[in-house]
């Protein structure tokens, strides 16, 4: 059992207790009964291979090594036994530490196995979800979309049809003249109808100016931007 050639790399050990435990298990010894001093040589052989490690890490290994050597020395020379009791860790204390560490390592192994199995839980991420405000009109969206469609249709009409080709001032004048003759008064808004194109509005307005110039109608507006009222002028009396 003396000075086995180290066959495990130093990096494989996680501290001096890990190495000591490894030796115990390697030799199939029982932690409860093994004479820890007997492991001193094997332990030192492993530590000797550690020259490449940082000094502070090696020192921890050396501290345990010296303890093991001391335990071995005591077992060989029982006369050393009573010396400096409180300073050094007794074999039993070291044994207990090793036992405890063995439990830790086993538990760590179990936790690691759980981690590798990947059977973890997940919580719900994030805060509250932003919901649209309540109490809005149910068909508000449909209405809004309807308006957009109407706008788009109008836009298309203006793009495609040149106003001059579609409406003529003469034709519009005749239409308005007939309308006024029939119902005496009419508003500009009525003439423009629901959704006038710019061209239609311009033609209608010019037709009105022309009718006014010819003395067919009177124009009145109560205030700025108010609707324009168109009334038929009694032309017949003038002519007679």
């Amino acid at each position: 059992m003396e000075s086995q050639a180290p066959r495990v790399t130093v990096e494989g050990f996680d501290g001096p207790l890990d190495l000591l435990l490894e030796l115990v298990e390697e030799k199939k010894l029982d932690i409860l009964t093994v004479r820890l001093g007997d492991l001193a040589d094997a332990y030192l052989a492993r530590v000797r291979a550690m020259a490449a490690l940082p000094a502070d890490e090696v020192s921890a290994f050396l501290a345990l090594a010296s303890r093991l050597v001391l335990l071995k020395a005591r077992s060989l020379l029982p006369s050393l036994e009573p010396q400096r009791e409180e300073d050094a860790e007794s074999e039993e204390e070291l044994r207990l530490r090793l036992l405890e560490y063995a439990i830790v390592r086993e538990r760590a192994g179990q936790l690691g196995a759980r981690l590798r199995a990947g059977e973890r839980a997940f919580h719900r991420e994030g805060g509250t979800v932003e919901l649209p405000p309540r109490g809005g009109e149910v068909d508000a969206l449909a209405l809004a979309f309807g308006r957009v469609l109407a706008l788009a249709a109008r836009q298309r009409e203006e793009d495609i049809v040149a106003p001059g080709e579609r409406y003529s001032v003469e034709q519009r004048t005749a239409e308005i003249e007939a309308l006024v003759a029939a119902q005496e008064r009419v508003t500009f808004a009525t003439l423009l109808a629901e959704t006038p194109t710019v061209g239609f509005a311009v033609v209608t307005f010019i037709a009105l100016l022309d009718l006014y110039r010819r003395g067919v109608i009177d124009l009145a507006q109560d205030e700025l931007f108010a609707d324009i009222l168109i009334t038929r002028r009694e032309a017949t009396s003038d002519r007679i």
Partner: protein
């Protein structure tokens, strides 16, 4: 969410809340969800059986820990609240780095200070720890060797770690 919070909102006694929580836990059995308890904090989480699917959906990476970190984590988990010096005494090595790693991954957190010389910081595990290991509570921690053995060793650990 804590039990007292639940009681305040639902207007029930702690006992009633306890019963309701037990009922809820039973109702979740066999579904994709379950209750997780950390101290007095309760939380609804996904069941670990479905972790592969949930992880795929979330694009979550699997947590990886070195053996050293796992050892430190296991000591903190089973011994909490515990100081770093106590963990180092048990593992026989310096644990600065592993404590830093575990804390930055939110697996352990500070739990106040120990009434001892220097008032060292005490550490415990987080609810993220339970989540990552798929534990419903700390009672779910895997048992190793004999629990009595751990108790016997509790007082005997000699923290005489030279430099």
């Amino acid at each position: 969410m804590t039990r007292s919070e639940l009681g305040r909102i639902a207007g029930g006694t702690p006992r009633a809340v306890e019963n309701a929580l037990a009922e809820l836990a039973a109702a979740y059995e066999g579904t994709g969800l379950r209750l997780q308890r950390s101290g007095d904090e309760w939380q609804i989480v996904t069941a670990p059986e479905h972790a592969p699917q949930v992880a795929a959906y979330l694009g979550a990476d699997r947590l990886r820990l070195s053996p050293a970190s796992l050892e430190t984590l296991s000591v903190v988990a089973y011994r909490q609240p515990v100081t770093r010096a106590e963990v180092e005494a048990i593992r026989g090595v310096n644990c600065d780095q592993t404590f830093y790693t575990l804390a930055s991954r939110r697996l352990i957190e500070e739990r106040g200070r120990k009434e001892a010389p220097g008032r060292p910081i005490l550490y415990g595990t987080t609810w993220e720890f339970l989540e990552c290991f798929g534990l419903q509570s700390l009672d779910d921690l895997p048992r190793a060797l004999s629990p009595e053995g751990a108790l016997v060793l509790e007082g005997a650990a000699a923290p005489s770690e030279p430099g």
